[in-house]
């Protein structure tokens, strides 16, 4: 365990760009699908059912790949990059909404910036270059590896982040009672733990075998949200 590094990365104050993203909550609020704490609970259950397994599994798989390479790099830099290219392509295929791809990459780029400066490492250079940045789960996987965390811890931070982003956005957008929102997160902790454990357990599998859950309404909402003239959150 590297408890303090783990807490640093899981902390919502870690400067990795997350505060500007509501992970679909702003769109759901505008559409009247989330208006109160019960609505937020349903929304977060949804996030746990489709987004968390994919995000956590790709984070854990990237972490495992990066950690192994960190211990035993191949001789050529390009060989080291191949598994990350595959992870990137598989996650891209699972992210059908262009708006959500962009949101993921922008958050990945922000996390990469913070990670590089917080835990310097050669591992970051293995991530595929993309003008908008690496996908967030890939950036998180490499950052957690650079920070010396375990695969389980990396999956846990990923699954937890899937919940805390929209929960924090709900406090800001709906003025929900922050104590009740924390109580809700505590009640979802068991489910979040299970998802993280499952994700860590499949981290060794080849990328195409990783979870591929999808939520068409979330994709459609994200595309509509991206066209709004006036919005508070980037996604």
């Amino acid at each position: 365990m590297h408890s303090t590094a783990y807490l640093l990365l899981a902390d919502g104050r870690f400067p990795s760009g997350g505060h500007a993203h509501s992970s679909g909550l702003e769109a759901a609020v505008a559409a009247g699908r989330v208006t109160d704490l019960a609505g937020l609970e349903s929304f977060l259950h949804g996030r746990l059912s489709y987004a968390a397994p994919v995000t956590a599994a790709f984070t854990a798989a990237t972490h495992l790949t990066a950690s192994r390479l960190g211990r035993a790099p191949s001789h050529t830099h390009s060989d080291n990059k191949v598994p990350f290219l595959t992870l990137d392509a598989e996650l891209e295929a699972r992210t059908v909404s262009p708006a959500l791809r962009l949101a993921s990459r922008r958050q990945g780029r922000a996390l990469l910036r913070a990670g590089r400066l917080t835990w310097p490492s050669e591992l970051y250079a293995y991530l595929p270059k993309h003008p908008d940045g690496p996908h967030q789960p890939l950036a998180l996987g490499v950052t957690t590896a650079a920070a010396g965390l375990s695969t389980e811890e990396s999956a846990h931070i990923a699954a937890y982040g899937v919940l805390t982003g929209p929960a924090s956005a709900a406090v800001r957008l709906l003025g929900l009672d922050p104590y009740q929102v924390q109580n809700l997160l505590a009640r979802l902790a068991g489910a979040c733990d299970e998802i993280a454990a499952s994700a860590a357990a499949v981290a060794h599998k080849s990328p195409e075998e990783l979870p591929a859950h999808a939520a068409p309404l979330a994709d459609i909402s994200a595309e509509i949200h991206a066209t709004w003239e006036v919005r508070l959150f980037a996604s």
């Binding site: 760009g17 922000a110 910036r113 919005r231 959150f233």
Partner: protein, 236 residues
Amino acid sequence: MLADHDESVPHTHPEPGVDPHPPLPQLDRAVRIGIGGPVGSGKTALVAALCRALADELRLAVVTNDIYTTEDADFLKRAGVLDPARIRAVETGCCPHTAIRDDISANLDAVEELEEAFGPLDLVLVESGGDNLTATFSKGLVDQQIFVVDVSGGDKVPRKGGPGVTTADLLVINKTDLAPLVGADLGVMDRDARARRGDLPTIFQSIAEDPHASQVAAWVRHVVAHSRGHEHAGAH
């Protein structure tokens, strides 16, 4: 008679060309100047005025942090003071101060994208979303910062202080033309600003009367020249 024409009120102090800070380190990138201040104090109008004044002599770009995403950027684009492609808007998730102080990643990305697309640049202006008197820029994001308040917010604002009024590299007290209409005493604001800011400069201005914000533009030229070892600024 406008109050800021009254000779008993020193409009500007100390001489804005005199910078009490140690010289900036010489940069191999554009100078970044943050422009912050409360809602409605005239930040966007100041950015537009600076673009008007400086766009022909400095290679510049603008990042806006509007609460409503693109309102300020759209205003600047409509104002026609700068190529719209050189203006980027950053979303701030209901927390404009977070985006300029606590988690500056989206702003750094925007600045770097502009430098990549249009670089080399001399100057990037980063305008914060309208916030409160405690909102200041991170030193990780900007090299110098301007804090803008206006006389219609009340002449007590400088006395109330706060990190923006107290520590900004330049304090701009805006809309001096409105002072008689709102009963603001510029002399009081001047005295309180001196008390709060020591040697740091303060500029009183009215963009309605001076659409090129000439005193602030002069301060900006000075900052850019210093960062470049007096070489590039104003040279073309």
